[in-house]
């Protein structure tokens, strides 16, 4: 009897898992299908881009400054006196722009944006606003989801570029101007050392765009399948954060293996 329950449970969860993947995939397909109508939904797209920017920029600024400074403290503390300081700056620069800033900010934005997206769409779903769109001959995917996914994919790279700039500027400010630990010239040559353009694109464009896509997709998916009132909205928000965080760290590893 106990074994039967375990099998039923495992089987049910497996079916739920693959159903969720199928439904999320369907959402992606529907969003792609809505893309040719982007002019029709232009207002929604620009609104979402604005929302992403306003909601994330202040938090991105604060976090990136301290991520950069934290990396600098670790870099200088861990390196021995024998290692040239330009090398230390090079390690700080690369680890910050390729890994630290993109992943830390993506995880934080998954919490902030993913949760708010799921809660927003979830409350629209349970208050029949999504159905109201349909009765007004508007495609909920085109009106609500495609603009959010697009905004995520466009805005996250921009935010990460801004964050990386701030992080490195704060490192420069403390290391070169405030403490004189390294001269500005050495600092710049450390940043340029062993420079590969693709690494820059990878950390600033590819990875953030993928993360932005997952944050918006997962938030939208859980929002659109919300049911059960306020409890359902809370559940959707929590699930959105957890699942998008897992996807972000998984693809962080997988993309690095694949592309670097």
């Amino acid at each position: 009897m106990q074994t039967k329950i375990i099998f039923e449970n495992v089987g049910g969860r497996t079916i739920d898992f693959f159903t969720a993947i199928y439904e999320a995939w369907q959402l992606v397909i529907d969003s792609i299908k809505a893309l040719p109508h982007i002019w029709f939904y232009r207002r929604q797209v620009t609104e979402q881009i604005y929302v992403f920017l306003v909601k994330t920029l202040p938090i991105a600024a604060v976090i990136s400054i301290f991520v950069g400074l934290g990396a600098m403290i670790q870099g200088t503390y861990q390196s021995s006196a024998l290692i040239p300081r330009t090398y230390v700056i090079n390690v700080i620069f690369k680890s910050t722009i390729i890994e630290l800033c993109p992943i830390i900010l993506s995880l934080i934005l998954a919490g902030k944006l993913g949760a708010s997206l799921a809660a927003e769409l979830g409350s629209m779903k349970i208050s029949e606003q999504v159905e109201a769109l349909e009765t007004m001959s508007l495609d909920p995917v085109g009106f609500l989801i495609m603009p959010r996914i697009l905004a995520g994919m466009i805005m996250l790279p921009i935010i990460i570029i801004f964050a990386n700039f701030l992080a490195m500027f704060s490192v420069f400010f403390i290391a070169s101007i405030a403490t004189d630990w390294i001269s500005p010239k050495e600092f710049l040559s450390g940043m340029q050392m062993n420079y590969r353009a693709f690494e820059f694109y990878f950390g600033n464009l590819i990875k953030p765009a993928v993360n932005g896509f997952f944050i918006a997709l997962v938030g939208s998916y859980f929002g659109m399948r919300t049911h059960g009132g306020a409890l359902g909205v809370g559940r959707a928000a929590t699930n959105a954060v957890v699942v998008s965080a897992i996807l972000i760290v998984f693809f962080d590893y997988y993309l690095a293996r694949l592309l670097l």
Binding site: M124, S127, E128, Q129, E131, A132, T135, M136
Partner: protein
């Protein structure tokens, strides 16, 4: 004309709609009456394809809409407006944006012309311009209902569907809703000279049924138990319909 044949819907094996056959004539006001949990909302939402029934057909002027792909259904959907029980106003838009959304997305009218239409709609529901900048959360229940009706009116529908339009409203607002239902038909038939003004209302409110209906359908356990004029409904059939509910207002 809307023709419904053998419409059925089950949830978890439980039949909610049980082989419904019904003709809804052009320009009539049809009230579907029944206590809560009898399948009224599922039925009205099936009529506009917000819920996909398990079996049966729904024909609008001879076109079976259930077999149409969603893309092609839009042409018919544009003739339909729906007033939801909880109004379903977009809470991220203010009243003006709620009212202008449909025209902005589907018409080629200029902003000025859209604003004119918004003003007409707002006057229609006896409200004034001051409300336009407010968000739904700042409105009372009665005001939200009127805005929801205005948002439906602005679509210039042929078919107007109301889901429990008087639920949660006080007497004055119920009277207002009754007046607006009459006014919609009058405006469409008399002033706009359009021939289509079919109104379908699901409600448990017997007073509303008496006030607006041309024809009444009594729905019980997903089945139609009566179709006819309101004068033909006996006290006994109403009693039978509501025998599990409160009957104080009968």
């Amino acid at each position: 004309m809307i023709e419904v044949r053998e419409l059925s819907k089950n949830y978890n094996g439980m039949p909610v709609l049980n082989g419904i056959d019904l003709d809804i004539n052009d320009n009539e006001t049809l009230v579907i009456l029944g206590p809560s949990g009898q399948g009224k909302t599922v039925f009205i939402k099936s009529l506009v394809r917000l819920i996909e029934p398990d079996s049966g057909t729904i024909r609008y002027d001879g076109i079976d809409v259930l077999t149409l792909p969603k893309r092609k259904f839009i042409a018919i959907q544009k003739k339909i407006a729906f007033v939801f029980q909880d109004n379903a106003l977009f809470d991220f838009l203010n009243v003006k944006e709620n009212l202008s959304l449909y025209l902005r997305m589907h018409s080629k009218l200029s902003e000025k012309e859209i604003f004119k239409e918004v003003l007409r709609a707002i006057e229609f529901v006896r409200m004034n311009e001051e409300v336009l900048d407010k968000y739904p959360e700042e409105l009372s229940g009665g005001m939200m209902k009127r805005i929801a009706i205005a948002r439906a009116i602005i679509q210039q529908p042929c078919y107007m569907f109301y889901d429990e339009p008087t639920t949660g409203l006080d007497e004055a607002n119920v009277e207002m809703v009754v007046e607006l239902i009459h006014k919609f038909k009058k405006r469409v038939c008399k002033f706009e000279k359009r021939v289509c003004a079919t109104v379908v209302i699901v409600t448990h409110d017997i007073h509303l049924m008496h006030a607006v209906s041309d024809r009444v359908v009594l729905l019980k356990e997903g089945k139609i138990v009566f179709v006819g004029k309101k004068e033909e409904i006996s006290e006994e059939s109403l009693h039978r319909l509501y025998d599990t509910g409160v009957r104080d207002d009968l």
